[in-house]
């Protein structure tokens, strides 16, 4: 398999892993095994997959409340993710974090965040540390259209710009902030136009095609590693469902949803594989592998122990 074909195959596998993980997570929620909120990344897989595919393992990401896709793209194991979602001791945060706080310093994921735009100042801080150390790593700060009118986003843009910090703001514009359409809260056609106000480049790309997203990362990465500063990449995409599992999304017009489903990010990656000459049987093997991985992930999470009460105090670092 040529290098580029293998790369597309890996991206397809990651995107489908995210898709199946979210479907399994919803099942587990309905069975009462996951408590609290759960924000599926369904329909937005190409953004995380494309952005992270362009990174080095030593680069950082900062995630959002809709963060499972970012984590899986950054190399998190589905079974340890599922265990975290079920609040089990074997999860990434030993069951203390749950869906909205999955993180792994080893994998350089500085964490999901329950607060909209809350992760962005953290991303700027991490980039400032890289800058002070003189490293060439980059931080990808995932954010959403719901964050676009939030003060923390604008302060983060400005600080990153004036200090020429190695951040790439990957804004997932999925059309809705919970139930509010973006046209009601922004008068610009493309949110990337806002970058100009901070003296940084801004581009808008098709967020449903992972190859387009990956290609859009190239220049911003060079710029960031050369110490020239941040870039804003707006990825236009769509949430294929409500804001969270208990939001039926009735405010989303059916024809709009159908239009976006016709451009499904996992389907588009699959088509790229077919176009690259990969046989259906080979793709079916990937699909099958992921089903087995998901069965194992769910079983591992269910079989894992709850956190022990005796360990609670051990997690506190200062008395």
């Amino acid at each position: 398999m040529p290098v580029e074909t293998a790369s597309i195959a890996a991206m397809y596998e990651t995107a489908l892993t995210i898709r199946r993980f979210e479907q399994r997570a919803i099942e587990q929620y309905r069975l009462g095994n996951i408590r609290g909120y759960l924000h599926p990344y369904l329909g937005e897989e190409a953004v995380a997959v494309g952005a992270v595919a362009a990174l080095r393992p030593s680069d950082y990401i900062v995630s959002t409340h809709r963060g499972h896709g970012h984590a899986i793209a950054k190399g998190h194991e589905p079974r340890l993710m599922m265990a975290e979602l079920l609040g089990k001791a074997t999860g990434y945060c030993r069951g203390r974090g749950g869906s909205m706080h999955v993180s792994s310093l080893a994998l350089r994921n500085l964490g999901a965040n329950g607060v909209v735009a809350g992760g962005m100042p953290l991303a700027v801080g991490a980039a400032f540390a890289i800058h002070l150390r003189g490293d060439s790593d980059v931080v990808v700060s995932f954010c959403s259209d719901g964050a676009a009118a939030n003060g923390a986003l604008h302060e983060s843009f400005n600080l990153a710009a004036i200090y020429h910090l190695p951040v790439i703001f990957v804004l997932e514009n999925n059309n809705y902030a919970v139930s509010t359409p973006i046209r009601d809260t922004a008068l610009v056609e493309n949110l990337s136009e806002r970058a100009a106000g901070y003296g940084m480049p801004g581009v808008t790309v098709d967020g449903n095609d992972a190859l387009v997203v990956r290609a859009a990362m190239e220049k911003p990465l060079q710029r960031a590693r050369a110490g020239e500063g941040p870039t804003l990449i707006e990825c236009k995409t769509y949430r294929q469902g409500g804001h969270h599992v208990n939001d039926p999304g009735l405010y989303m017009p059916k024809d709009e949803l159908e239009r976006w489903r016709a451009r499904d990010p996992v389907g588009i990656l699959r088509q790229h594989l077919v176009d690259a000459g990969v046989a259906e049987a080979e793709i079916a093997q990937i699909d099958q592998r992921i089903e087995v991985l998901m069965d194992e992930a769910v079983q591992f999470a269910i079989d894992s122990p709850e956190p022990a009460v005796a360990d609670f105090l051990a997690e506190i670092s200062a008395a």
Binding site: Y29, R30, L31, G32, R35, G36, Y37, N246, D247, P248
Partner: protein
């Protein structure tokens, strides 16, 4: 094998949900993922999908009835299951 259809959790720690309407009759063939029964909780109304391929063996909780979250509301008989 008999596979249970359960009243799904549709909110944060809700205790009851309403079976609104079954979209299939007892004895109907069903496919995994196919909408089977419409339910409502305080937070959401949704179609519960069939958990397996098979036939809808029994409707345990009929439409218009409130029931505990996670209680069995119906059963699916998969291939090989004896039907009397």
């Amino acid at each position: 094998m008999l596979v249970n259809v359960v009243m799904p959790q549709g909110g944060q720690d809700l205790e009851v949900g309403l079976v609104v309407e079954w979209l299939k009759k007892e004895g109907d063939p069903v496919h995994k993922g196919e909408p089977l029964v419409h339910v409502e909780t305080e937070k959401i109304s949704l179609d519960v999908e069939s958990p397996a391929d098979g036939i809808l063996r029994k409707i345990v909780v009929p439409g218009g009835t409130e029931t505990a979250i996670l209680s069995v509301i119906g059963t699916i008989a998969t291939a090989g299951e004896e039907i009397d």
